[in-house]
């Protein structure tokens, strides 16, 4: 009986610390830097906003790739 409880205790603690780890990762990424914005995002963000976020990521990737290529060309020309 007690050994099962010990196992449960270990699993419980592991799960809670894993969740804490995810929270710390989010905090370090800056996801909680703006408390008000985060809470409003939770309440109001719709699927359209998620689609926008994907589009934005793609746009940024493209801009970064173009810029990198341009900088490399400039360096080669020099």
């Amino acid at each position: 009986m007690n050994s099962i409880l010990w196992i449960e205790l270990v699993i419980g603690i592991l799960v809670s610390f894993t969740l804490l780890g995810i929270f710390i990762w989010g905090a370090k990424q800056g996801q909680f830097d703006d408390g008000k914005k985060m809470m409003n995002g939770l309440l109001n963000d719709s699927t359209d906003d998620l689609q926008d976020a994907i589009k934005k990521d793609e746009k940024v990737k493209e801009l970064k790739a173009n810029k990198k290529a341009k900088l490399q060309t400039n360096q080669l020309q020099k």
Binding site: L20, D33, N40, V60, K70
Partner: protein, 792 residues
């Protein structure tokens, strides 16, 4: 006349002034700005903005006069634009006009959809934005135009070392506090089983398991979250000071060591819960302090962003744009309409009116002629003038105020709160008693182990749970009562300081008075056509007197309409002149030798005086009652104003205020507050304008009226959201009552300790007594605090 909501900003206006659209009668706009933004959002498919706004109201779109091409200037770029590692440009902006999450969404959405924008991130809390863009695709001025097109405005700010440090510090404390709260909450849940076990009986193996779980959760709290206390204690000891950090870390570590002994020795009861609670409680308080410091940095950035970047000087007959640091004494500076004076100086050509509200607090523009002094930070409201610099930028009024404000915000003196003081002496006493107990038992019994356990148990039983709860619980109830009354206290500790005040200083304009000019009722014998001429004249100027006149006419006369006046001309410092059907019509102050004690508006046609109006700034209805209340409470009441002696004396007499000071600059006001403090008084400053910010930041407690300037609200400790003066007396009453309960709570926890500590010193502490006494003391404190808002 009925009120109607604007389709864009949702603010309510009189139906008669609304702009309607013939093709869609459901659309009503309060101004052209709202109408423009509404259609722009519709055309761009962004109408979901209004779903996000919901029932919130927005401000009317900001009308921005200056040219955005300034943002592409080299001097601007050097100062504000940084290059990212990837080769993009980056700027930090403060966005003006943000109200709700929908405003953030709209700005981010519009900019994200703009080609060339790599990143846009607006912080809702401080309205600061980080913008990264590709200079090859889009220019900064185009980005600013985009923001302006949807009704907002943006100012650059220099992201200082202070801000980077404050942001990092805030993040660090947030992580430490989150982990402490997470662990403490888990420990509290486990505690339910542990303490229930004391009454129902518990298997020793099960108890050990509970202790083990608590040990796992308490360890990161002590060594990660509590690390800052160890660090603080170390630096304190290095400087030979026993500080609060030392006592917190010593208390928590000793309790932790004792609990470890219990866990692995298998005897007694562990107190890992106390370790986690002590650290968590104190850490939450520290986090609030860190937030306060971060707010101070954000406020300074807002103030600095208002300073002009450059000035136009006249060199060899030509104009040259220079940065403020390049301006030398005797340089000739040109200021156009709408521009801010960058340094102090003396007018040498032209005449105009200057808005000095940021310096003197008075809403009426002041006339400036040749020989008059111009102060930096004041805004030219009428015509181009030239003036000679008599100070450089560093010594000019605006920079002096900004620097003084920065110093005050960084080291704002506050009264040491009672609980902190008490905790300090309490902890020293407990540590001493624990040592006496240890040595006493060691000499008496000779057992080192037993003496150590009894010594530590003195510290554990004196667990400052009740002491730690005494202030926060009472403050929480006091603060929630205050917020229900529309009174916002930014930190709980202001309750205590406010309850102890000796003197209260009021600003005049906008605080004792409404700050808005109103026309005294005047019987008129004008024809409808003459009334319409007068209405059109007042509608063609943005001067506060003209605005007051327009609103007076709209309120008192129906069917007024704008006529087609010709040759409309603003006469600097006087009024507006125009021609109508070959007659010269004029509205404003007539140039004569009479010195008026109030603001006067004359209306003439072909130099024939047809009407004279008197304008006044009304005293708030509850001003007299508020002054009476504070006088009854033996609090000295004082009015400080930048206005003339005659006006201030009249108002002081009318509301029954015994002391007043007139013609005070922002620095005079701040010095006066300092002198009151030096005479041993605890001082409250109540204000609403930018000119009060310095005095507000110097006072022990600063109160801003809810519709005051952003900066005044930012530097204040208390904000009267309902904008009523009676809110100040209500705040004082609630603070005094709450503080009385805090003192009672502290007394309860002291009595608890006086009873239990001797039992612990005598070595009679058994787990049941510990569990019962700790819970009971906390319950007593909570129960007592719940009585605070029973008498409303």
């Amino acid at each position: 006349m009925s009120l109607m909501k604007c389709t864009h900003c949702h603010l309510e206006f009189d139906e008669s002034i609304m702009i309607k659209e013939p093709e869609n009668k459901e659309l009503n706009f309060c101004c052209n700005g709202c109408q423009g933004v509404y259609h722009l959002l519709q055309d761009d498919g962004l109408n979901s903005f209004y779903d996000k706004v919901g029932k919130n109201t927005l401000s009317q779109p900001l009308a921005v006069g200056d040219d955005s091409s300034n943002f592409d200037m080299e001097s601007f770029e050097t100062r504000y634009v940084k290059e990212t590692e990837e080769g993009f440009n980056r700027i930090d902006l403060i966005i003006e006009g943000i109200h709700c999450s929908a405003c953030i969404w709209l700005n981010e959405k519009v900019l994200n959809d703009t080609d060339g924008i790599v990143e846009i991130n607006i912080n809702f809390t401080n309205n600061k934005a980080k913008v990264v863009w590709d200079e090859d695709i889009i220019k900064l001025s185009q980005i600013i135009d985009k923001i302006r097109s949807i009704g907002y405005n943006a100012y650059p700010y220099d992201r200082s070392e202070n801000e980077i440090k404050a942001t990092e510090n805030k993040k660090d404390f947030f992580l430490r506090m989150s982990i402490a709260i997470f662990a403490s909450m888990n420990i509290m849940m486990i505690d339910v089983a542990k303490y229930t076990g004391y009454f129902t009986g518990i298997d020793p193996e099960m108890l050990r398991m509970i202790h083990m779980a608590e040990f796992i959760f308490a360890t990161p709290v002590l060594f990660y979250s509590g690390w800052i206390f160890f660090k603080g204690a170390f630096y304190g000891l290095k400087n030979k000071i026993i500080n609060m950090d030392f006592l917190v870390s010593a208390g928590a570590t000793l309790t932790y060591i004792y609990s470890l002994y219990v866990l692995f020795g298998g005897v007694g009861d562990s107190y890992f819960d106390s370790v986690a609670m002590i650290i968590t409680f104190v850490l939450v308080g520290k986090y609030l302090e860190v937030l306060g410091k971060k707010n101070a940095v954000d406020t300074m950035d807002k103030i600095r962003s208002q300073i002009p970047l450059e000035a136009t000087i006249i060199v060899d007959g030509g104009k040259k744009v220079v940065t403020l640091d390049e301006i030398k004494i005797d340089d000739i500076i040109e200021v156009k309409m709408g521009e801010k004076a960058s340094v102090d100086g003396e007018v040498i050509s032209g005449s105009s009116s200057f808005d000095e509200s940021s310096i003197s607090g008075e809403s009426m523009p002041v006339s400036k002629q040749i020989g008059d002094i111009i102060l930096s930070g004041t805004i030219n409201t009428e015509a181009v003038i030239r003036y000679r610099a008599c100070k450089n930028y560093a010594n000019s009024t605006l920079n002096t105020i900004v620097e003084l404000l920065e110093d005050s915000l960084n080291s704002k003196p506050k009264i040491e709160d009672t609980t902190n003081e008490m905790s300090k002496y309490f902890s020293i006493m407990i540590l001493s008693l624990a040592l006496i107990t240890f040595f006493g038992w060691y000499i008496y019994e000779g057992s080192f182990e037993n003496s150590l356990i009894i010594g530590i148990s003195v510290i554990v039983i004196a667990c400052p749970c009740a002491l730690a709860l005494a202030t926060p619980i009472a403050s929480l109830i006091g603060i929630s009562w205050l917020s229900k009354e529309g009174l916002l206290f930014k930190e709980a500790k202001f309750i205590e300081t406010f309850a102890k005040i000796d003197a209260i200083v009021f600003d005049k304009t906008g605080t004792i008075t409404t700050g808005k000019l109103t026309v005294k009722a005047t019987p008129l014998s004008l024809t409808l056509e003459e009334l319409n001429i007068l209405y059109t004249l007042s509608d063609s100027s943005t001067h506060p007197v003209s605005i007051a006149m327009k609103s007076y006419l709209e309120k008192n006369y129906e069917n007024l309409k704008n006529l087609e006046l010709e040759k409309i001309e603003q006469i600097p410092s006087l009024g507006v002149q125009a021609t109508y059907k070959n007659t010269i019509v004029y509205g404003g102050r007539l140039e004569n030798n009479i010195e008026y004690k109030t603001t006067i508006y004359h209306f003439t046609i072909n130099d024939k005086l047809l009407a004279t109006f008197e304008l006044e700034d009304k005293i708030r209805e509850d001003a007299k009652k508020t002054i009476e209340y504070f006088k009854k409470q033996n609090v000295k009441t004082i009015i400080c104003s930048g206005d003339n002696k005659y006006t201030v004396a009249n108002i002081a007499k009318e509301i029954g205020c015994d002391h007043f000071n007139a013609k005070m600059s922002p620095i005079n006001k701040a010095d006066y507050i300092n002198s009151l403090k030096q005479s041993g008084k605890t001082v409250v400053m109540v204000g609403d304008g930018i000119n009060d910010s310095l005095a507000l930041s110097r006072a022990d407690i600063s109160i801003a009226m809810g519709n005051g300037a952003d900066i005044a609200i930012a530097v204040s400790d208390i904000v009267i959201l309902n904008d009523k003066l009676s809110g100040i007396s209500k705040s004082f009453y609630i603070s005094k009552r709450t503080f009385r309960f805090i003192k009672q709570n502290l007394m309860i926890s002291l009595i608890y300790n006086i009873v239990t500590i001797p039992i612990a010193m005598a070595g009679f502490i058994i787990p049941l007594v510990a569990a019962l006494s700790m819970s009971l003391s906390s319950l007593l404190v909570v129960g007592n605090s719940l009585r605070i808002d029973k008498k409303k």
